[in-house]
């Protein structure tokens, strides 16, 4: 069996037993990328020579020693491109430093390898907003992979990555994980440093792992979590060994089923799969509890005010002065900004900058932005109340399986509605995970689907405990 198909945990055992070397894993990955990437398109670039050097020097006594990890192309790795799948940064930016999460992965012995495609600046839920390349779902090439961490999910699903990092602002790890049939975890806000992650919406963004197994997600969390003085929002909280939670079972745990997440518009086969998962957890000793998250109906509206507002501010740094695209022959300084940005950004990025600027503009910021911040409080309180009653919440990750390319290309609002079940976790700052729960048949294709588990802020251990039980089913 090809090494690329194996999990981190399995490869680590073989490495420690001396059966394989880090170079064996890397060479196997390189040949799978060369074979598979032309049709799937997970990777924008990969630096073979740098990785070969790192594999030769890898210290396998470290927890992730010798394991290559694919990196979403919005996380800085020293000396590598970091395009955010945007023409603004393509061939015009080389990362001058390592993101803190990369420093931690390297300290744990891992080898960052390959730059995964994404929606431009992480704005989208298909990866079709990449300005540089199309990524196709490995389970049906005519369909999208989800997004925005679509390249990361497709790389893991097509066995061209052992595991990958993504970022999740409104579901951008969990949703593509669901569409590609892999595990995707969004940690609690503040768990992992965002230093060196290109900012989209700073109050919502978190880096997290996309993996083949729940155990691998726990292994990556072990390496990545913890306080970082370079990110003032990273929390100074102890980091447990997350793998210890995996074998605790679910006996006595209370699993909440929010009635607002089982409404019309969900593919009935996905609803059935979630309910079947709930039944199996009940059989394993968990107690099912019907709960309500009463402000669910306001989640998408709140998000599409706050996220573009923060994005319009964060993306003001792309001005053509210090790095990235600068327009040729501008008449005036202001044209450097206006034209460099016009040339560099794609349509979805422009739409969100305009939307964000509008909701923050004089006369409208109370009506939109302040109101959304208040609605966010209500949404957050929904979860605080729910987690007084239950340990973990179970829901679908997405209302449908992966759509065809171009399904919503001229109706952005329709595409936004696909994030309905994942956005609330970012607004509330809690943790969430998507775990594969079977496939559904569309024509000749078998499309993966995931179930989502949500846990309270810093509740990753119980989240993983239940996720491991779902995975074993």
């Amino acid at each position: 069996m090809s090494l690329s198909t194996l999990s981190i945990a399995t490869l680590r055992k073989q490495l420690c037993a001396g059966e394989i070397t880090p170079s064996d894993i890397l060479e196997d990955l390189i040949s799978s990328i060369e074979k598979t990437n032309p049709e799937v398109g997970s990777y924008l670039s990969w630096d073979v020579e740098a990785a070969r050097q790192a594999a030769k020097q890898a210290d396998i006594s470290l927890p992730l020693g010798g394991i290559p990890i694919a990196i979403k192309d919005n996380i800085n790795v020293l000396g590598e491109p970091c395009t955010c799948a945007s023409k603004f940064l393509e061939n015009a930016y080389t990362a001058p430093y390592d993101a803190s999460v990369i420093t931690k992965l390297k300290e744990a012995g891992a080898i960052p390898f390959g730059r995964a495609n994404m929606d431009e600046f992480a704005m989208g839920s298909t990866t079709d907003n990449s300005a540089l390349q199309q990524t196709n779902n490995p389970h049906d090439l005519t369909r999208v992979v989800g997004g925005s961490s679509g390249g990361s999910a497709a790389a893991v699903a097509s066995h061209t990555a052992i595991a990958a990092l993504g970022s999740d602002t409104g579901g951008s790890i969990r949703q593509p994980a669901s569409h590609c049939g892999v595990v995707g975890l969004k940690p609690s806000y503040g768990r992992i440093s965002r230093y060196g992650l290109v900012a989209f919406a700073s109050s919502l963004d978190q880096i997290g792992p996309l993996t083949k197994t729940v155990e691998d997600a726990a292994l990556l969390l072990n390496a990545m979590c913890g306080h970082d003085p370079a990110d003032s929002t990273s929390l100074n909280e102890p980091v447990p060994d997350f793998t210890k939670a995996l074998h605790r079972g679910v006996k006595g745990l209370k699993i909440g089923l929010p009635k607002e997440y089982f409404v019309d518009g969900i593919d009935p086969r996905i609803r059935e799969a979630v309910l079947a998962t709930a039944k199996k957890l009940e059989d394993a000793g968990a107690e099912l509890v019907d709960i309500s998250l009463p402000h669910t109906d306001y989640v998408v509206a709140t998000y599409y005010i706050l996220a573009p507002a923060e994005a319009s501010s964060n993306l003001s740094r792309y001005d053509g002065i210090r790095y990235g695209n600068r327009t040729k022959n501008p008449d005036k300084l202001i044209d450097v900004y206006r034209k460099s940005r016009a040339e560099g950004f794609g349509p979805e990025v422009k739409r969100r900058i305009i939307l964000g600027t509008y909701v923050l503009s004089s006369g409208y910021s109370d009506k939109y932005y302040l109101k959304a911040q208040k609605a966010r409080t209500l949404i957050r309180e929904d979860f605080i109340s729910a987690f007084k009653e239950v340990d973990v919440i179970l829901s679908p990750t997405t209302p449908t399986a992966a759509p065809l390319h171009g399904a919503h290309s001229d109706d952005p609002l329709q595409e936004y509605m696909a994030d309905l079940f994942t956005i609330a976790a970012n607004l509330a700052g809690i943790c969430g995970i998507s775990v594969p729960a079977g496939t559904i048949k569309e024509g000749d294709s078998k499309l993966p689907m995931g179930v989502q588990l949500l846990g309270p802020h810093l509740g990753e251990e119980q989240l993983l405990q239940v996720a491991a039980a779902v995975e074993q089913q």
Binding site: T302, I305, R322, G324, N325, R338, F345, K371
Partner: protein, 97 residues
């Protein structure tokens, strides 16, 4: 009809973003439809609710005031679109009299 027709060109100007005529025409109905949807929040009574700006209630985090190395000049300038004598070069800002 959106209750607040959006002047896309004016907002784009505030955002220092040049739009073509076609882009302005394409974005206007799309953004009006999104704005129409987010009016939904008007249904909520938020009069006495505190706004949330961050999900974790951590405020005023300050580091120790100590000198530390920053990005060195060569590392910074490797990405500069235009440079001269170890500095960034930008188009002339001051208009001639």
């Amino acid at each position: 009809m959106a209750p607040n027709p959006i002047d896309v060109s004016k907002i784009a100007d505030l955002a220092r973003l040049e739009l073509t005529e076609e882009e302005a025409q394409e974005f206007t109905p799309q953004l009006e439809s999104i704005l129409g949807y987010i009016e939904k929040l008007d249904e909520l009574d938020v009069e006495n609710i505190e706004p949330t700006s961050h999900a974790t209630l951590v405020f005023d985090t300050i580091r120790e005031d100590m000198a530390r190395p920053g990005l060195d000049r060569d590392a910074f300038l490797q990405n500069a679109p235009d440079q001269l004598n170890g500095q960034l070069r930008v188009p002339k800002v001051i208009e001639e009299a």
